[in-house]
């Protein structure tokens, strides 16, 4: 066990990476469904919200888990990111407030239109806020001596972050559409196939653009293309992502119901690993402050050990009961939102 000690920061990076991915997928389809609902009539919107009712609380909680784990394992990282991205993070929180109460009030209110619209707008705003925050993060935050010294506005509001935000927006719409393909039928499902195709083409274009810009920006990432073991990994994962895209398009053409969502997850997984390999070990990618790396942003070894033993027990438990809940509500969603005990 002692052998694991020096690798604990990396293990936690891996755990947090897993939480981030899981969150991005499940709340991604949640938010994507919300954005798509903006273009629907009242009846359809109710059906769309009905696909989320039992699961969205759980999905959103992964964000809380992600925040808590990052705070625990990498306090410095947590502090720098959240304080420097103050504006998009606050906007995201406000959007989640709007969206969260809209879902819960929707079933109880007579003004379905108002709450349905709030649900959609909250989803859109939260998505854009996450996109801009990610853009600011990928572009690099100005950090000196463990303190953010950049602009509180321009660090996340720039042409690059606009591109990243567009990518997140299309990506979430794509996830939402694939989720609706799985959960709905007839006309709504057919329309979801079309949305899934259109949004995935846009997502692919933006992703390639973001990836190229990252390589240009970070010599550290570009260097890995020319060194022996690094080149293999940085090339392998984009290649796998591309392959998944091909399989994804095939599954849409064949009108499969579950496969598009699964290939969508594969695309996200491989892209994420690819970019992470490129950036590692600079946790806040930044040319100005190469000092904020995995190791010195981490909590003490004592804390990491304590958290690690805890996480080894709790993560499987979480996955089991989350899996069980998804199983209970499997299959097509048939009722409108808030109709208790929909039949199978």
């Amino acid at each position: 066990m002692l052998l694991l000690g020096p690798y604990l920061p990396d293990i936690f990076l891996f755990i947090i990476g897993f939480f981030l991915l899981y969150y991005a997928v499940v709340d991604g389809y949640d938010l994507g469904v919300g954005i798509l609902s903006l273009r629907s009539n009242e009846e359809e919107r109710s059906l769309m919200m009905g696909t989320l009712d039992s699961i969205w609380h759980s999905n959103q909680t992964w964000l809380v888990l992600l925040g808590g784990m990052m705070f625990g394992a990498f306090p410095l990282f947590y502090a720098i990111i959240l304080s420097s991205l103050y504006i998009p993070i606050m906007a995201m929180l406000f959007a989640f407030i709007l969206r969260g109460v809209a879902i819960d009030f929707y079933a109880k209110s007579d003004r379905k239109g108002l709450w349905g619209f709030s649900f959609g707008m909250g989803s859109l705003l939260a998505t854009l806020a996450q996109g801009f925050a990610l853009g600011g993060l990928l572009a690099g935050l100005d950090v000196k001596n463990g303190q953010f010294v950049g602009s509180i506005v321009w660090s996340w509001l720039n042409p690059f972050s606009v591109l990243v935000a567009a990518g997140v927006l299309f990506g979430y719409i794509m996830l939402g559409a694939n989720y609706l393909i799985l959960k709905t039928k007839d006309e709504l499902q057919q329309r979801s196939f079309r949305y899934a195709l259109a949004s995935s083409v846009l997502t692919l274009m933006v992703s390639v653009g973001v990836y190229v810009l990252l390589i240009i920006r970070y010599p550290n990432m570009a260097d890995k293309y020319t060194s022996a073991p690094g080149a293999f990994y940085v090339l392998l994962f984009p290649a796998l992502a591309f392959f998944s895209f091909v399989m994804y398009f095939r599954s849409l053409v064949k009108r499969f119901e579950l496969a598009p969502l699964l290939w969508n997850v594969a695309i996200i997984l491989f892209s994420f690993i690819g970019v992470s390999f490129g950036l590692y070990p600079h946790m806040i990618p930044n040319v100005i402050s190469p000092t904020v790396t995995v190791r010195n942003a981490a909590a003490s070894v004592q804390t990491l050990w304590f958290m690690f033993t805890f996480m080894v027990v709790i993560i499987p438990i979480i996955l089991i009961y989350t899996g069980y809940t998804n199983w209970v509500f499997r299959g097509k969603s048939e009722g409108a939102y808030g109709e208790d005990g929909k039949s199978h």
Binding site: D53, S54, I55, H57, S58, Q60, T61, W62, L63, V64, L65, G67, G68, M69, M70, F71, G72, A73, P75, L76, Y78, A79, I80, I81, L82, S83, Y86, I87, M90, L93, F94, F96, I97, V101, I103, D104, F105, K108, G146, Q147, F148, I152, A299, S300, Q302, T303, F306, M307, F310, I314, I318, Y321, T322, V328, F329, D340, G341, K342, S343, H344
Partner: protein
């Protein structure tokens, strides 16, 4: 106003708003578990109807609690980044534990509890309700552990401005922890009792389903027999713990400026107007020896006064002094209300025919509902303002813990919080009113 002040204001406002909601969620989930279990055991449908009715208010409450809770976790990073770095080694992973062990459990099983009535067997549904209740209570546990560590940091030491843990057990079981956790958890039960009791009293008073609500009324009266005196005991123990571990807070709470010389007793101030400039009370009504008796259990026990500490280590005095008296006063009122109700019950006044005539008793229960929430807020003001000027008692000052933000950024977010939370509060009241006016639904459970 500088950005630190605005960040403090924002944290105080968002925390005071947030705490209104989880208390009922925590207490009600336990009560819902009890009702559902009783229904399965006795097959008496009235328990089922109670469970379904109170679930509506539970959900409404939970919705506001969840959305106002997420900003709490993130504000440590956004507004208090220096605190997050300094205390993160302990504080961060406690929040992580809360999310992983408690909140996730609650949020996931909530789906089955609310939407799964016809998808799972009754036993599984009961299990889901139990998991929601367990998650909610564990949530309170971890959050209060984190908060009590800020009051009485233990289990490690500070090196280069960062706390490094040596012993996790000592950090978690810090001196304030047992009182912080129990006092708050019992507060959740107590508030739930007076919310359910107050609403039931209203129905009884209006003669709407009086018999049905007499049942929930009696259930909470029974719980109150246990909870209201227990809370007074826990409050007293908590106060004595504060005396040992946070002397400046205790002195501020009691408006106690001058340490009693050996051989004399410290007086307890009943009403006063503390003045920090003068380092004394401008006006004071005292009970001799009482403070020594209360906190040291001896006539002449020494109680340190505020003037023993440098002015820049003294908390504000007026706020904790009065908020404490409001909280404790309400605690005793609720205890007396419980006694009165038991007396009426014993006299046979709590049956369907008689109870609607007990107007003053019912009015009192309705008034107890807002009072219990006021006690909650007053208690937290005492606890948090009394800890000042420290964010981590004796170690790190609040003034030195904020992120380097611009006042305009924090001011804007604060205004948005004001606006959104005001609207949320109004909406909650409107929806809750709608649920209450609609009343319970007596549709039979489908098996």
């Amino acid at each position: 106003m500088d950005h630190v002040f605005l960040s403090r204001l924002q944290f105080a406002f968002t925390a005071m708003f947030h705490i209104l909601w989880p208390v009922f969620t925590i207490g009600m989930s336990l009560l819902l578990f009890f009702m559902e279990a009783m229904w399965l055991k006795t097959r008496d449908d009235r328990y089922y109807h109670h469970a379904r009715f109170w679930t509506k208010l539970f959900m409404l409450n939970l919705a506001v609690g969840v959305v106002s809770g997420i900003p709490m976790e993130f504000q440590f990073g956004t507004n208090w980044s220096k605190f997050s770095v300094a205390g993160g080694d302990l504080f961060g992973h406690l929040l992580g534990f809360e999310a992983a062990m408690a909140f996730m459990l609650e949020a996931t099983f909530l789906g089955i509890m609310i939407f799964g009535w016809k998808r799972v067997r009754p036993g599984m549904h009961l299990f889901s309700t139990a998991m929601v209740a367990l998650g909610a209570s564990m949530s309170a546990f971890w959050i209060l552990v984190a908060n009590s560590w800020m009051q009485t940091p233990a289990g490690g030491n500070f090196r280069d401005g960062r706390f490094v843990i040596q012993n996790n057990f000592n950090a978690i079981f810090n001196p304030d922890m047992i009182w912080g956790v129990t006092h708050m958890w019992v507060a959740c039960l107590e508030i739930t009792i007076f919310v359910v009791g107050g609403i039931s009293a209203w129905y009884i008073y209006k003669k709407r389903n009086a018999e049905f609500f007499l049942r929930s009324f009696k259930i909470v009266v029974v719980v109150a027999i246990l909870v209201t005196p227990l809370q007074i005991y826990l409050g007293d123990s908590s106060g004595r713990s504060v005396f040992h571990t946070q002397p400046t807070k205790l002195a501020a709470i009691e408006g106690h400026w001058h340490t009693n010389p050996p051989g004399t007793g410290a007086p307890w101030s009943l009403v006063a107007w503390p003045d920090k400039e003068k380092q004394d009370n401008v006006f004071d009504i005292k009970i001799p020896y009482m403070l020594s008796i209360l906190v040291t259990h001896s006539l002449t026990g020494q109680v340190k006064g505020l003037t023993d500490f440098p002015v820049d280590e003294q908390p504000p005095v007026i706020l904790p002094y009065y908020s404490f008296r409001i909280m404790a006063g309400i605690g005793f009122l609720l205890f007396f209300l419980m006694l009165w109700t038991c007396w009426a019950w014993r006299k046979g006044k709590l049956n369907t025919a008689e109870v609607t005539r007990q107007k003053w008793l019912l009015y009192s229960w309705m008034a107890a509902l807002p009072l219990s929430y006021i006690a909650l807020e007053a208690g937290w003001v005492t606890r948090e303002v009394g800890r000042q000027p420290w964010i981590i008692y004796g170690v790190l000052r609040t003034q030195e813990s904020a992120s380097n933000l611009t006042a305009s950024a924090v001011g804007t977010s604060l205004l948005v919080f004001f606006a959104i939370y005001f609207v949320l509060f109004v909406l909650f009241v409107l929806f809750a009113r709608h649920v209450i006016l609609q009343g319970p639904d007596f549709e039979s459970p489908k098996s």
